[in-house]
Amino acid sequence: MSMIPYAFSYRRPKSLAEAEAFFAASPESRFLAGGQTLIPTMKMRLAMPPELIDISGLADLKFIRAEAGQIVIGAGVKHADVATAPEVRKAIPALAELVGMIGDPAVRHMGTLGGSIANNDPAADYPGALVGLGATVKTTRAEYAADEFFTGMFSTALADGEIVTSVSFPVPKMAAYAKFPNPASRYAMAGVFVAMFAEGVRVAVTGAGSCVFRVPAMEKALAVSFAPAAVAGISVSPEDLNSDIHASAEYRAHLVGVMAGRAVATALSR
């Protein structure tokens, strides 16, 4: 049999504590959730962990709760279940829509919230929602504001062996996500999440740069006037944006403006 020629061992812990103990005993091991990023990476042998600790069965990580002013989602909840959850669709339709745009139906049946944000792919969608909504990430060791959690390309504030357990998403007055997908991979070439709260507006951009980022000039303009016209004249600098075979940095900068306008229009149309 081909594809994954090196042997590794697979373990299924029964609790978070056991998962942590397995990790402590084998510090080169990796946690496995939906496998929709880790397994393709292992097939390419870009990752070769000697042991996989499968946390996808842990009941502690599988819940969706509507609380006062927020929606709390367990790290193990699959994309398909977030996209269709009545609590999420009612309180934060923009979040359900964003998750429904991840990959394809089969990927959404396996992939999880925790796996997506721990991986922090520059083109992933979830980071846009976490930063756009000012979410809080809870782990086995600490709590992080989304602004501090995503630290760079494929990097986060997580320490080795630390497990994301849940994310709390504040419920905005209005919000929407507009994504320009790469036509082949469906990952975001540029995705903009816009959310309006009593305290102000947040605008988060994913896919365009090496890591999700906010656009303070758009946030200020939208706080004054929440309308597509408010962001029309505001451009982001292409200087730090990604340039690859799919799109130049200048093109991505342009997409950010267009997606921001579309997100505001969608938020207003609900």
């Binding site: 049999m1 697979y10 996989l52 398909a80 394809d104 089969a106 082949a184």
Partner: protein
């Protein structure tokens, strides 16, 4: 090595397999269910789509241990007593395949989408096929086949209810 057991197409199976075994290899090489195909190594083509506890997944992107205890359905498990599943029948009648390589994955994806989406139209069908690549047909007849199957299944559900 890990001992795994699961139900595949209604039959209980168990085996000792290497931990690194992907579900698709377990199906194809241990159980000789070669209807499930492998078309890529990037989890993008969907030729390997099977149902895991009733939901479409890419069997090339699941280790067999993750399916331990699960209920798996492959393309071989759709026909009943020699009668094709309505989606299989619709692919045949609408010329929804040419070389046939993508077809098992297309059909498993189609059955799953018809289950989840009661009101399919051609645009929704195209979106739902985002994870399945066909190099032959240009998709047109695949979309027609799924639309036809969804309508037939609705009709027969009505007849059964009446």
């Amino acid at each position: 090595m890990t001992a795994v057991s699961m139900t595949v197409n209604g039959k209980a199976v168990s085996a000792d397999v290497e931990d690194r075994t992907l579900l698709v290899y377990f199906l194809r090489e241990h159980l000789q269910l070669t209807g499930t195909h492998i078309g890529c190594d990037t989890s993008q083509c969907g030729a390997c789509t099977v149902h895991l506890d009733g939901k479409a997944v890419k069997s090339c992107t699941i280790f067999v241990g993750q399916a331990d205890g699960a209920n798996v359905t492959t393309i071989e498990g759709l026909a009943r007593d020699g009668v094709l599943h309505p989606v299989q029948e619709a692919f045949r009648e609408n010329h929804g395949l040419q070389c046939g390589f993508c077809t098992p994955g297309m059909i498993m994806t189609a059955v799953d989408m018809i289950r989840r989406k009661p009101n399919l139209d051609r645009e929704i069908i195209r979106h739902e096929l985002e994870g399945n690549i066909c190099r032959c047909t240009g998709y047109h007849n695949i979309v027609s086949a799924i639309e036809d199957a969804a309508n037939r299944m609705k009709e027969s559900a009505k007849d059964n209810a009446a």
